[in-house]
Amino acid sequence: MANAIVKRRRQELVVGGVVLAGLALLPVPIKDVYTQNLIIITVLFAGLAQAWNILGGYCGQISLGHALYFGIGSYVSTLLYLKLGIPPTLGLFAAGIVAGAAALLIGWPCFRLSGHYYAIATVVVGEIGYLLFLNWDFVGGATGVFIPFKGESWAELQFKTAKLPYHFVVLAFAAATWLAAFWLEGSRWGFAWRAVKDDVVAARSLGVNIFASKMAAAALSGGFTGMGGALYAQYVGYIDPDSVLAGHFSILIALPAVLGGVGTLWGPLIGAAVLIPASELSRSYLGGSGRGVDLMLYGGLIVLVALARPQGLVSLFNWRRKSDVPAA
């Protein structure tokens, strides 16, 4: 049995390597800038959703306030760069650390709550962050922060027109979150989280420290989300509270994981690959008129997938593994 798990994990790793190589080679056939941009955003969201998945999927704590960590990350790296001249390659890690610390600080009171009470508390904490940044002049208030272009540089993650370097930057980010999830899945933490998700009382009776487990998941999840925020800020070159901290952003981060399959390695990537292109394409073809058709399609898609595939789109790929699973 243990052997079967080791074998399956080795298979996952091989599949992961193949997918990574395939994604890395995408720019070879695809030269069109619009499509490249679409792929970059999709891969970035795959990473963000994987980060959300650590807390929401594996540990079962549904956070609807991840925009806060994303926003904190994007502001930290941007302000370090603009005010102190620290290059974003370093700022990226500072962003991760600050966002992770913020997740701990917020988790400390909020993990007293469970279920819907927890989900709503995260909405509220996210809203507070949004309102505070909106009214905080040091960080640009409602006008936001513009990142000036200072010349091509890998250290500062600035590339004039080429999308290509960013393709690899976000791919490295998504791969890092995937590897983290892969490693965590097989670690002591991963087992503790799934126990907390399934049955808190049973987990506690087995000696799992519930609070510490949730805090660890929150710190990792928030930290990775913050790093994603830093990359996003450097990629678009402009941030304001509405674009990185608004409440709907929290949902955008969680949705790919939920629709792809929560608590699975591949769910976030599959969800992002379906959702992000669907929303971007419908917005660019139908949203220009400002008539809301894109929103109707997007909302309808969410409803349909959630009802038709409650276990996530990843379940579509599970047929080949049925024979491996012993009958329960």
Binding site: Y117, V123, G292, L295, M296, Y298, G299, I302, V303, L307
Partner: protein
Amino acid sequence: MTAAHLLQVAAGGLLMGLVYALVAAGLSLIFGLMDVVNFAHGELMMLAMYAVFAIWAINGTDPLLLLPIVAVLLFGIGIAIYHGLIARALSVQFNRGMVQIFVTFGLAIFIRGACQFVWGGDFKSITGHWLAGRTIELGGVFLPLPQMAASAICLAAFAGLLAIGRTEFGRALEATREDRDAVALIGIDRNRIFALGWGLGAGAVGVAGVMLAGFYYVGPNVGASFAVIAYVTVALGGFGSMLGALVAGILIGEVEAFTAAFWEPSLKQVGVFAVYLAVLMLRPRGLFGRL
């Protein structure tokens, strides 16, 4: 700072708080009945506001006269949402909690898009109706009539909801809430009770929407801003508790009014959220919530 000024702020908070309470009551009713948080609740309120606006724009009917029509309309929409979506979401075998959240969330986005499609993205307001611009003065405190009417109607609707709780149907509702499987044994059709619960919840928020339309702008995002307040109200009062929604709604209206008056108007919601978090730290199930 005079006593009259304090009273003025308190009165404003109370008037708004009663509207919040009714919005939250619908949400709380549905949650208490079947453990579903309706993330499209704000959008249902927005639908009611747009319905009032649409009819008013055609023939200038006063929003007050439209109250019964729109309330019945929203009642029907609530029942349709239950049968079309929620019944299915309740029957999934896997991940039920998340499916419920994201089905209602997807519905919210859909409704927002549909309203934008029909009425465009700009703000509308209903002007020149019977109560518009009128105020009455009570001991140096000026009370705008549209807000007065809104809070009075909301209070009446609240009383109506509580009265329904005392009828045969209300007892069936309560029984279903207590044990959704056992009620089938005594001849209560659970599906029908759930559907009526959705109808009542949507109808309640519809009444709030109609009254709000008399003094508040209508736009595709108006639902979202009220929805956050509604979740906070319900969580603060305790999920499923009607009395909790009323007390929490008034409390939130007051905190909001006093934060805006004495601290900073743009941070009025921060004051509300801070009070909410402080209360939940001391009492995780809300003021009147049951465990």
